[in-house]
């Protein structure tokens, strides 16, 4: 075998090939087979699908498909006309089609028809207007933190990018390198923070018995976290459970966190999308800002403006003083420059155009409420359908949970059954995207759930 570039991979690749050869060759050949690499390589000629010995990537394994995005991949392969995709959280209309908001189309038209528009590099921190408007949107225009110039905001690549840049910043500049994430949480959270250089631990969140919040467990786990630890909080419409704390519970969480100097890191991917009201969905965040404390905030416009593929988001760090905010921003630039230099302009321009024009802003809030209302209606219809079928179990969590997702409580066997028998696609944790449902597909889903819970435990 020619020498590979990777010192580590070479011997293990040899061993693997020899083992493979020993098991795959007919027994008579096996006795003659030695473990020298030359004869192993010779006998491999019959197996053209094996990794080529001449690649430096010989030892590289195939990565599994991303569990969330992989659902859509599997769905696309399914030829059944009955199939329903309840996997990834992208909004669908009643007709099952993706939606580009009217106000977004209009903003885009304005941008593209503007003869003086250029495509010069944005600053590392992104589009300035976009940053200011985003901070106002989440914190409130009258927020003292904004008035006092204590907020450092940088445009990032949607929610993921904002979380990653925030995580990298903390790993470099914050004394506590542990982040507590809720159990369960969005599948990508632990990976983002681990690669950012933080240690990930979890706090109890979801109670399968009540299909609601394990508030005691949450308080206990945060109480026992080391002082100063970072805590990831879903601002609203918790993903994947749809279970949010009440305002009263949020207040208790806030007090506990402040008393232990725990650093809040909010993930806001659904502002306006959960309840239909932008202000209501920002209440948890604003409560924390109001006490004057510091926090990180990752904002995404993927869902609430339907800008999924444009990758628009912002990371805001609310700091103790304006002076600190300036220095923090300068350090955020050092994280961003070696990652992608500066962010993409198109989506941010669309957002800025809409947010700064009051007529367009109002139009947006109407379309946003329309989407939120449709989802709330899907919840009610599914709940009613299960009730009609007298499906065993308490399904009230479907209407109690909020946002795009419902944590059905179905186990992985039931999920697999529903995929096989009913061509219903969801993530294996039993999470369904309500946005993927319609009046037409609800009966099919209700039938599938009914069958799954009655036939499998």
């Amino acid at each position: 075998m020619p020498s590979a570039n990777v010192r580590g991979a070479q011997p293990s690749a040899d061993r693997r090939l020899s083992t493979l050869v020993r098991h795959l060759l007919p027994s008579s050949a096996r006795t003659a087979t030695t473990t020298t690499t030359t004869s192993a390589a010779d006998s491999l000629e019959a197996f053209p699908t094996m990794a080529s010995p001449s690649s430096v990537f010989a030892g590289l394994a195939q990565a599994p498909e991303d569990p969330i995005l992989g659902v859509t991949v599997a769905y696309n392969k399914d030829p059944s006309p009955m199939k329903v995709n309840l996997g990834v959280g992208a909004y669908r209309t009643e007709e099952g089609k993706p939606l580009v908001l009217n106000v977004v189309r209009r903003a885009e038209q304005m941008l593209i028809n503007n003869p003086s528009r250029v495509k010069e590099y944005l600053p590392i921190t992104g589009l300035a207007d976009f940053n200011k408007l985003s901070a106002k949107l989440i914190f409130g225009a009258e927020s003292p933190a904004i008035q006092e110039n204590r907020v450092a905001t940088v445009q990032c690549l949607s929610g993921t990018g904002s979380l990653r840049v925030g995580g990298e910043f903390l790993a470099r500049h914050y004394h506590e390198r542990t982040i507590y994430i809720p159990q369960p949480t969005w599948g990508n959270h632990p990976k983002v923070f681990t690669l950012a250089g933080l240690t990930v631990r979890s706090y109890r969140y979801y109670d399968p018995a009540t299909r609601g919040l394990d508030f005691q467990g949450l308080l206990e786990d945060l109480s026992s976290a080391p002082s100063g630890a970072i805590v990831l909080l879903h601002a609203c419409a918790h993903n994947p459970t749809g279970v949010d704390p009440t305002l009263d519970q949020w207040e208790q969480i806030r007090q506990l966190m402040r008393s232990k100097s725990l650093l809040p890191f909010f993930d806001s991917a659904y502002q306006g999308f959960a309840s239909g009201s932008l202000d209501k969905d920002a209440q948890s965040v604003r409560m924390f800002v109001a006490d004057g404390g510091e926090l990180l905030m990752a904002q995404s416009y993927a869902k609430n403006m339907g800008l999924y593929g444009e990758r628009v988001g912002a990371l805001s760090i609310v700091c103790g003083s304006a002076d600190v905010a300036v220095r923090v921003e300068s350090q955020l630039k050092l994280v961003i420059r070696p990652m992608y230099s500066n962010p993409p302009i198109h989506g941010a321009s669309i957002v800025a155009t809409i947010l700064k024009d009051s007529a367009m802003f109002d139009e947006w809030t109407l379309e946003l409420k329309g989407m939120a209302d449709r989802i709330i209606s899907m919840r009610q219809q599914l709940f009613d359908a299960l009730k009609t079928r007298e499906t065993p179990g308490d399904w009230s969590h479907i209407i109690k949970q909020i946002g795009m997702f419902t944590f059905t409580g179905l186990n992985s066997d039931q999920v697999a059954f529903m995929r096989q028998e009913y061509h219903i696609y969801m993530t294996s944790d039993g999470r369904i995207s309500m946005a993927g449902l319609s009046a037409r597909t609800i009966p099919h889903l209700a039938d599938a759930i009914h069958a799954a819970v009655t036939k499998l435990k």
């Binding site: 570039n5 580590g8 939606l99 690669l195 006490d291 103790g320 220095r327 070696p338 992608y340």
Partner: protein, 449 residues
């Protein structure tokens, strides 16, 4: 809540007694007990130092702040017209109008990006008829322009080749080191620029690549080396390939100027294709910032030529695994523009023409600058290196002090390594620039601050 708001207001009056950054809140619990919750003591980020401005992007910031009429921005490599205005290619405007008419949706792209873009970009780079494409041996992922492509590759190297280091040219684009540092990939330099000849230190380059441990990654600029503008000749490329092959190094190309250097897409890709033709596995980072003027759209790709399609699949799967926790999936807009332009023969032809015009303008400016320098400089210094360099930049040979003189005295903004962006120069300004360079070169040495 009203009572606590009032209490808060009272406390604010006494703020002067509190330490800087200290905020105090009072909240009343249900059963009437007042609880003092000290929200924050001093900022947790009090110890965060002010970061220095980016050496390249910071130049534009300084330029903006300068109020002098004579100012000239020769810092960042962004193309300017003769009127020194930013330029959006006509073909790009056409593509965007077409996209608007099509009214496509804005759904998430797959992690690896837009399929039509990935196909087009690989064909553009390797040649549509290249056997490696037909054999399915290339793993291509749409990424965030050149920087994002390099960063993904660096993350991949860190994870799967933890013993390896990257060899980068001395000098190289300033951000290369930052990328590998942040990705925690060790690097060392190979000699490249020879200040005596203002040309390539070829012997030094070969010697250093030879001396590196087997299996190193060698970062090569596909064409129009940044910052020097000095490229190896085809014969020298062959020799570079020889030594890389002999040492079982991995060639790692950074291609940010395909089509922009010579004006020809194929000619500018010849170095990459030379290596691929030898059957080597190769990394190539691509950017459309300059050649399609899509700077702010962040569109590029990381390509890995592998020995078999099966290996390419595995490599692609692992690159996806690194992209997902960085940004999940890449932005659609720039990818669609490229796919539309490259996919339509008329638009593709128009693009090639506009690119030739941009490259042509830069060549003209080079000539005029050289002519001005030769005419004005009485010292007999040989300025012909300017004509031998290629691409957007010229490495003037000015040192930091001299570069400072350019800025402080002449209001000419450039990077401190002596690099000027000819893309930011007009024919009209060549004489002024020549005066500044001559002055800084001969008189700028003693003006260190």
């Amino acid at each position: 809540m009203a009572s606590s708001a009032a209490a808060f207001a009272v406390l604010r009056g006494g703020k002067s007694e509190a330490r800087a950054g200290c905020r105090v809140g009072i909240t009343r619990k249900n059963f009437g007990r007042v609880m003092m919750a000290l929200a924050v003591d001093v900022s947790r980020f009090e110890g965060v130092p002010m970061a220095p401005p980016d050496p390249i992007l910071g130049v534009s910031e300084a330029f903006k702040a300068d109020k002098n009429d004579l100012k000239l921005n020769l810092g960042v490599g962004a193309y300017r017209t003769e009127e020194l205005q930013p330029y959006v290619l006509n073909v790009v405007k056409k593509a965007e109008t077409l996209m608007l008419e099509k009214g496509e949706n804005k759904e998430y792209l797959p992690i690896e990006g837009l399929a039509a873009f990935n196909k087009a970009t690989a064909e553009l780079l390797f040649g549509a008829d290249n056997p490696v494409l037909k054999q399915g041996r290339v793993a291509t992922l749409q990424s965030l322009s050149g920087t994002g492509s390099l960063r993904l590759a660096a993350a991949f190297i860190q994870r799967y080749f933890p013993e390896a280091k990257v060899l980068i040219s001395s000098p190289t684009w300033g951000n290369h080191k930052n990328i590998f540092n942040d990705a925690r990939v060790p690097w060392s330099e190979y000699r490249y620029y020879d200040p005596k000849t203002v040309g390539l230190d070829f012997e030094g380059m070969i010697a250093d690549i030879q001396a590196a441990p087997d299996g190193s990654f060698v970062l090569l600029h596909g064409c129009a080396h940044n910052p020097t503008g000095i490229d190896p000749t085809p014969e020298q490329w062959e020799k570079i390939a020889d030594v890389i092959q002999e040492k079982k190094h991995m060639p790692f190309f950074d291609v940010a100027y395909q089509g922009f250097a010579s004006g020809s897409l194929d000619e500018d890709a010849s170095s990459v294709r030379l290596f691929v033709e030898r059957g080597l596995e190769v990394f190539v980072a691509q950017s459309y910032s300059k050649n399609l003027g899509l700077y702010a759209e962040r569109i590029g790709a990381i390509n890995v030529v592998c020995s078999t399609p099966e290996v390419a699949n595995r490599v692609k799967s692992q690159l996806k695994r690194l992209a997902r926790p960085m940004y999940s999936n890449p932005p659609i807009h720039g990818a669609r523009i490229v796919a539309n332009v490259v996919g339509d023969p008329t638009m593709f032809g128009e693009w090639k023409q506009e690119m030739e015009e941009m490259a042509g303008r830069i060549k003209n400016v080079r000539q005029k600058l050289y002519d001005s320098l030769s005419a004005k400089d009485k010292s007999g210094k040989d300025w012909s290196f300017i004509l031998r360099q290629i691409g957007m930049f010229s490495y003037t040979g000015l040192n930091k002090t001299q570069s400072d003189n350019m800025t402080d005295k002449w209001h000419i903004y450039m990077t401190k390594d002596g690099r000027i962006s000819l893309a930011g120069l007009s024919l009209a300004k060549c004489e002024y620039l020549a005066d500044a360079i001559i002055d800084s070169f001969h008189n700028g040495l003693g003006t260190a601050k």
